[in-house]
Structures are given as structure tokens and as C-alpha cells.
């Protein structure tokens, strides 16, 4: 034992010496900060989605459509003559892996931008590294807002855009009384806060608000409460497997879609396919995009995508389209940055972000029609549309916003301040960067 203790002491003094030795204080990875491009070399971007596990259901489609978009851009000459090279990793539906892979892509692979994440939790898991390394994340889906970082660009609808038309439409067509059901996490609660404002404006009445544990498939208690409340329609922000269970049990419990439809922000083409179209038919969805959108750009997109090697899953739903757009927002941003500096090698992630305000994806490219990036908060101006699910599981567009709706991440928190390109400006004039 004595011997051991001595060894121990010796070792610890060695370790102390090692710590004290200045040459061992090696420079950190900081010098690698800010990935740069090389003339004539491919532009590396990271695709950080889950290809296995629970989240693979939506995110595998995101990876496929990103690869499709990159192929399409490369076929048409790339960006300023440089092809895009995707670095594809699998986040395994595990937030620890999201964080690890984000570091790998940014610090080691030195990608100029990341495209990734579906859930807010995974986004929050990688934001610390994205922000500290001053990288750039394209977040291609809907989310709750209330975030003002200087390193993200989002191409999906914010909570303040998503249900703006849906609620008045439902009140007008089905009646004033509504019941809110959501999965128990941040996005549904924030969406519901916005929905309450639209509801008040439309003169509706909220009968109840219930949240189901994520992943739960027991809707008995909630449906019991809905039965007692007798609303005219249900507003749903239930996600994933729970959403499918919700629609199935809705029908099994004898609820009728004609007298009490579900107006959802999530139940799209994949969900109706998974639950069986008979459970989805008649319900409503608000989204900026539906596969059935009737315009030449979309028809070409659907046709080309489905016959490409990436179209094996047979549909193009809103989440895929928002991901597809992010590739073109990136292209436009990078082109603007190159134009500004005149030299590819001087472009950094930071610079792309800075010049992306106001970047447009025109009708000829965007399947959902013209969109542009807000110059302050770097979310997307878009037109939400309302679709009704048909007997075959596809959606028929029944209403479309006349004007583009502005994204506003702090619409219901005016006291928090205004999100600008440089940070969140509080009412007292103080500016805070990277508020998450």
C-alpha cells in the first residue's frame, strides 16, 4: 500500500509538471475558426440529419432532398463555377450525436455551412458550437421562434406565420368554439400562444388546451375532455407517432370529421400515408407547401424529384420543400458574398450570413412560389396555405394567403425586444448577441 501511495504521489507530481510545462499548453483549434473556400475547389457543406432512429422518418427525406438540390445546382454549373460537396453524417436521433457531429463538421471538416436538424431540441444542442465557431446553420423547418442568433437562417414558417390564416378560416367555416391539443413541448405551446391571438381576432372561443407526453399513444383522456367540451373544431400541434395515434383514436372514438375536423400544423403527406388515408381524410393542414400545388415550378420539381434516385419515398412534403429551398437560399447568399468581396477565398460563413438578408428564391425556382429572407431576423417571408386531406391522402389547397406574411420571432414578446441582424435589441436599447 505504501508503495502504491508513493507511486501515486510521484505520478501526481509528474502530472503537475506536465501542466506547468509551457510547451504543453498547445494552441487550441481557434486558428481554424471561420472555414474558408479555395478557388477551384468544391464547396463543402454539412448535412446533419438523422438517418437512423426515430427522427429518421422526417430527416432521411431531408437528406435526400438536399442531395437532390445539390446535384441540381451542380448540374447547372455550381456556385460561381464551384461544385457543392455535401458531407453527410448520421445524427442517429440522439442529441449527443448531433452535438458531436456538428463539431466534427465545423471544426474538422471545415464546412462553410451546415444544413440540419428537425426538432428544436437538436437545434439547441448544436447552437453552442455553431455560435462559438461562428459557423452558419440553415434550419429548414418550422419552429417556435423566440430566438435571435447571428448564425442561423431558417426557411420554414415561424409560429407567428403558421396558423395566421388557418384559425380564421376554421372559425369562419366550422364555428367559433375550438379545443387545442398539442404534444408537451415548446413548439406546440408557443404555436398555441400565437393561435390564441388569431382566435381572439376572429372572435373565436377557446374551450380547452391539453398537452400529451411526447411519444404517448394514449388519447383516451384527452378525447374524453374534448367530447365533454363539444368544440366546433380541434387545433392540433401533436407531432410524430402521437399524431398518428391521435387521428386514429379520433375516428375510433366515434368523432366525425365533418362536424369537428382537426386543423393541424403537422399532419402532412407522410403522416396521412402512415396512418392510412381514411383516418386523415377531411382534416386540415396549414403549410407553405403541398405536393399538389398547381404551378409549373412545383410540377417540374415533383416530377424530376420523384424520378431521380432520391425520390424513392414517393412524396414531396412541406418539410422537404423547405429543405430544398434552403439550398437555393445558400446559393443566393454565397453568390452575393462572392460578388461583394470579388474573391472566393475571402468568403466566410459569417459573410454569407451577413449578405443573406433580403435574398430571394424566385417563382421559377421555388416550388411554393417566391420567398425571401428577412433582413433583420433571417427567417423567411412566405405565404401559408391551407390544404384539406383527400381520400387518397393528398391535400387539396382550399385557401392561400394573398400577401407574404412577415416572420417575427418575438411577435408575442414585444418586451423582449426586436431581433436584428446584429442581435436582440431590447426596448431599453441594449443589444444582446446570440439570444437562445
Amino acid at each position: 500500500m505504501d508503495l502504491t501511495r508513493r507511486n501515486l504521489l510521484k505520478r501526481s507530481s509528474l502530472a503537475a509538471a506536465a501542466i506547468a510545462a509551457p510547451h504543453l499548453w498547445l494552441p487550441t483549434a481557434r486558428e481554424a475558426w471561420g472555414a474558408t473556400l479555395k478557388k477551384g475547389e468544391p464547396i463543402k457543406v454539412g448535412l446533419l440529419f438523422s438517418l437512423t432512429g426515430q427522427l429518421a422518418v422526417p430527416e432521411e427525406d431531408s437528406t435526400l432532398v438536399m442531395q437532390y438540390a445539390i446535384d441540381e445546382i451542380n448540374k447547372n454549373g455550381g456556385i460561381a463555377g464551384h461544385p457543392i460537396q455535401p458531407v453527410i453524417v448520421d445524427a442517429k436521433s440522439d442529441f449527443n450525436v448531433y452535438s458531436e457531429k456538428a463539431k466534427e463538421l465545423i471544426i474538422r471538416e471545415k464546412v462553410i455551412a451546415l444544413f440540419g436538424c428537425y426538432t428544436s431540441a437538436s437545434r439547441k444542442a448544436i447552437l453552442p458550437v455553431v455560435m462559438s465557431q461562428n459557423s452558419l446553420l440553415y434550419y429548414p423547418t418550422c419552429y417556435e421562434g423566440a430566438e435571435c442568433t447571428q448564425n442561423t437562417i431558417c426557411t420554414g414558417p415561424l409560429a407567428n406565420q403558421h396558423s395566421k390564416d388557418l384559425i380564421p378560416y376554421m372559425v369562419k367555416n366550422f364555428g367559433k368554439k375550438v379545443f387545442f391539443v398539442g404534444s408537451n413541448y415548446v413548439w406546440p405551446k408557443e404555436s398555441n400562444k400565437n393561435a390564441k391571438i388569431w382566435l381572439q381576432e376572429a372572435g373565436g372561443e377557446l374551450l380547452g388546451e391539453e398537452y400529451i407526453p411526447l411519444g404517448s399513444s394514449e388519447f383516451g383522456p384527452v378525447l374524453g375532455k374534448i367530447r365533454d367540451a363539444k368544440p366546433n373544431f380541434i387545433f392540433s400541434t401533436v407531432v410524430g407517432a402521437s399524431d398518428i395515434a391521435f387521428h386514429k383514436q379520433f375516428k375510433q372514438e366515434g368523432f366525425k370529421v365533418d362536424s369537428m375536423p382537426i386543423a393541424s400544423l403537422t399532419t402532412g403527406e407522410i403522416e396521412t400515408k402512415a396512418m392510412g388515408p381514411e383516418f386523415g381524410a377531411g382534416h386540415f393542414l396549414s403549410a407553405p407547401y403541398f405536393q399538389t400545388l398547381d404551378n409549373p415550378t412545383n410540377q417540374k420539381f415533383v416530377e424530376n424529384f420523384l424520378k431521380s434516385k432520391y425520390g424513392k419515398n414517393g412524396s414531396t412534403h412541406y418539410n422537404m420543400e423547405e429543405t430544398y429551398l434552403s439550398a437555393y437560399v445558400f446559393k443566393a447568399g454565397l453568390e452575393a458574398a462572392i460578388k461583394k468581396t470579388g474573391n472566393v477565398e475571402e468568403v466566410t460563413s459569417r459573410m454569407i450570413r451577413d449578405v443573406s438578408g433580403g435574398v430571394r428564391v424566385e417563382d421559377a425556382v421555388s416550388p411554393e412560389g417566391l420567398i425571401w429572407i428577412d433582413g433583420d431576423n433571417f427567417n423567411t417571408w412566405l405565404k401559408p396555405k391551407i390544404g384539406q386531406c383527400q381520400a387518397d391522402g393528398s391535400f387539396k389547397v382550399v385557401s392561400q394567403a394573398a400577401e407574404h406574411v412577415a416572420p417575427d420571432p418575438y411577435s408575442i414578446y414585444p418586451n423582449a425586444g426586436k431581433c436584428t441582424a446584429a442581435g436582440l435589441v431590447a426596448p431599453d436599447g441594449k443589444n444582446r448577441k446570440n439570444v437562445i
Binding site: 481557434r30 437512423t52 448520421d90 458531436e100 462559438s132 408537451n184 415548446v186 431599453d428
Partner: protein, 370 residues
């Protein structure tokens, strides 16, 4: 023991191997300058601490704990709260942004202590440990043991995860807490990709490993190991079994709590996913494959599995879990003492060569476990 001793059981040899291991992890920053790799190694070190904590209570104490994520997760939350409060200001910016969004006007009382970095870290370590003491006392005094305890720890873990999800105004629910800046200690920011962060984790790992090793060699450690074999007999010998069980359980909880703090220091993020059952059972798998009866084996098991997941996981995208599951089954079936047990067997057979039948100890018999 007149015959030549199995080298595996020789204390000086064991300490020598530990020393070698410590030297190896201390040398990593000399060869690795890539911030990503350094950060990744540090994270593996934390997984190693978790595997060690499992080895301590399951391997030595015979208490299979499928809910180690409780200590890890609670401590991680404590640390994340501490780091979050470092970027707040009592006058101009008193509450974290997510609370504003959840309509809180004031900082909740249980967030107040986290203004102080030292106090916050202390709480992050003490609260989970105290919970382990209370939960352990409840369970062990009722003589809940074996598989029942495993299931109850799992249920408790689920309960905590559910609670954190439901307490969204205070915890930000499923989105978790991501402190916007790295931990600041003594006025300097601790770059999670730098060598200092690595040294801290490395130091923590060495300290808990040496501490745990000394503990297992102490009288307390011997009683605990006797418990694993036959708790009834130990009870008849007059020992307060529940007390010993609670102690070893709480110590392992403390180590997991330390790991949770360091983890958030490196990752700058915490969410209910840290209290996910898969993650907690994953810790048991690390210890099981590496060797639950060997502290170092458990640590290396964590390195092996997590390294495998990081580097093989992408090559064999779809089959990785399949291989992991199959590998684990094979280890449990044929090597109940894990890879460390394999080494023990090999060294044992070398030692036994001159005098056969000295210490027959074939693996695969109920020698380990229960």
C-alpha cells in the same frame, strides 16, 4: 495461495496498469491538436467516469442501476443553470430568455442560488447525491434488490424525465438549456475545445478512478463486495446492509453527478434526453462489455463502444445497433466479467501452467453477478 498468483490479481501490477492508463490519457493533448478530437476524447473521458460509477455499484455492490441518468442529468441541469446564470446580469438582464417566453416575471427561487458559480456547481453535485441517499434508503431498507431495484431505478428515471418535460417554464422542457457562452472560471472563459477543459476532465477521471480503486480495497469495499455475493449472510454477520448499499449507491451517484457537470462544461447543452432510458442502459452496456468487476475495464468499455459508435457507426449505418446488440449478448452469455474477465482468464491460465487446478475459475458460471 501457494501457487504462482494470477498477475491480474496482483495489486502492484494493477496500479502499474492504472498508471500507464493515466499516462496515456495525459499524453493525448501532446499528440492531438485538433480541437474537435480533443473535445471528443474529453467527452469519452466523461463516459468513462459514468461506466466507472456503474462498475462501482453494479460490479462491486451488486446493485444494478438502470437509472444512473438521474444523477448525471440532474447535475447536468445544475451545471447548465450555473452557466446560464453567468451570462445573465442581476440588473439589466435578470432572467434567462426562455423564461420570458414562458411568461415568468421573476427568477424562480430555486434558480437563485445559481447566480453564484461555486454555489451552483456545489448544488449540482450535492442535490443528486442527496436524492440517491433518500431513494437508496427508501429502497434498500425495504429490501428492494436485484431486478426489482433495476426496474424501480428505471421508473424513477422516467419520472424525472417526465417532470422536467412538464416543468417547461423552469426547465425549457424538451428544448433543454443551452448556455450561450462557455463556463467562466476565475475570470477566464474555459474553451471547451481547448487543452484546459481536457485537463480538467482528465484530472476528474484520474481522481475518481484512484478514489474508487482505493475504496474497493478498503474494509468498506470488502463489505460491499460481500454484499454482492450474499446480502443475507452479511446481514447475519451484523452489518447494516441497507446502510452499505445506500453508501455505495450514493457514491456512484456522486461520480455520475461529477460527470454530468463536466459534460455540460464541454457540450454547453442539457435536455431531458440526458435522462433517456437508452442512455442510462447504455452506461450499463459499457461497463458490462468492458468488465463490471474492473474499474479500468469499465472505463475502457465506454471508450470502445463510444469510439465504435463514432467511427464505425457511420460506415455501418444501419447495422451498427445490430452489431452492438449481438456483441453485448455474446459478452453477457460467454464473458460475464466482460473483456477484463477475458484478460483475467488468459493471465490466469498462464499463471496456472506450472500447477494446474490451483484456482479453477472458469467464466460462464455464476461466479459473477448473483
Amino acid at each position: 495461495m501457494t501457487t504462482k498468483q494470477n498477475l491480474y490479481h496482483s495489486k502492484p501490477a494493477q496500479w502499474a496498469v492504472y498508471g500507464l492508463f493515466f499516462a496515456a490519457i495525459a499524453l493525448i493533448p501532446v499528440f492531438v491538436t485538433d480541437g474537435f478530437l480533443l473535445n471528443q476524447f474529453a467527452v469519452y473521458g466523461i463516459y468513462g467516469m459514468l461506466a466507472l460509477s456503474i462498475s462501482l455499484c453494479w460490479g462491486f455492490g451488486g446493485i444494478l442501476n438502470l437509472g444512473q441518468g438521474i444523477a448525471f442529468g440532474l447535475a447536468a441541469y445544475g451545471m447548465a443553470m450555473t452557466m446560464q446564470m453567468q451570462s445573465q446580469d442581476p440588473d439589466s438582464n435578470p432572467i434567462p430568455p426562455f423564461m420570458l417566453n414562458n411568461s415568468l416575471e421573476h427568477l424562480p427561487w430555486f434558480w437563485q442560488p445559481f447566480w453564484s458559480t461555486g454555489g451552483g456547481i456545489l448544488l449540482a453535485l450535492v442535490v443528486p447525491t442527496l436524492f440517491y441517499v433518500v431513494f437508496g434508503t427508501l429502497m434498500f431498507r425495504a429490501r428492494v434488490s436485484g431486478p426489482f431495484f433495476a426496474i424501480m431505478s428505471l421508473a424513477m428515471l422516467s419520472a424525472f424525465a417526465t417532470l422536467i418535460l412538464d416543468m417547461q417554464p423552469y426547465t425549457n422542457g424538451a428544448n433543454g438549456i443551452s448556455p450561450p457562452a462557455p463556463l467562466s472560471l476565475f475570470g477566464t472563459d474555459l474553451d471547451p475545445y481547448g487543452t484546459t477543459a481536457y485537463w480538467i476532465v482528465c484530472g476528474g477521471l484520474v481522481a475518481v478512478t484512484v478514489g474508487a480503486k482505493l475504496l474497493t480495497q478498503s474494509k468498506f469495499g470488502l463489505v460491499v463486495q460481500a454484499l454482492r455475493g450474499d446480502p443475507e449472510r452479511v446481514r447475519f454477520l451484523g452489518y447494516n446492509v441497507a446502510l452499505y448499499e445506500t453508501c455505495i449507491y450514493a457514491i456512484s451517484g456522486f461520480i455520475a453527478a461529477l460527470a454530468g457537470c463536466l459534460w455540460v462544461m464541454l457540450i454547453q447543452y442539457v435536455s431531458p434526453a440526458q435522462l433517456d432510458t437508452t442512455f442510462s442502459i447504455g452506461m450499463v452496456i459499457w461497463a458490462g462489455i468492458g468488465g463490471r468487476l474492473s474499474l479500468l475495464g469499465a472505463i475502457l468499455g465506454a471508450f470502445l463502444i463510444q469510439g465504435g459508435q463514432s467511427y464505425l457507426g457511420d460506415q455501418f449505418l444501419a447495422t451498427w445497433l445490430l452489431m452492438l446488440g449481438a456483441f453485448f449478448i455474446v459478452v453477457v452469455r460467454f464473458l460475464p466479467k466482460g473483456l477484463a474477465g477475458l484478460l483475467e482468464m488468459i493471465l490466469g491460465s498462464i499463471a496456472r501452467q506450472p500447477a494446474k487446478h490451483a484456482r479453477p475459475e472458469p467464466a460462464g458460471l455464476p461466479a459473477a453477478g448473483e
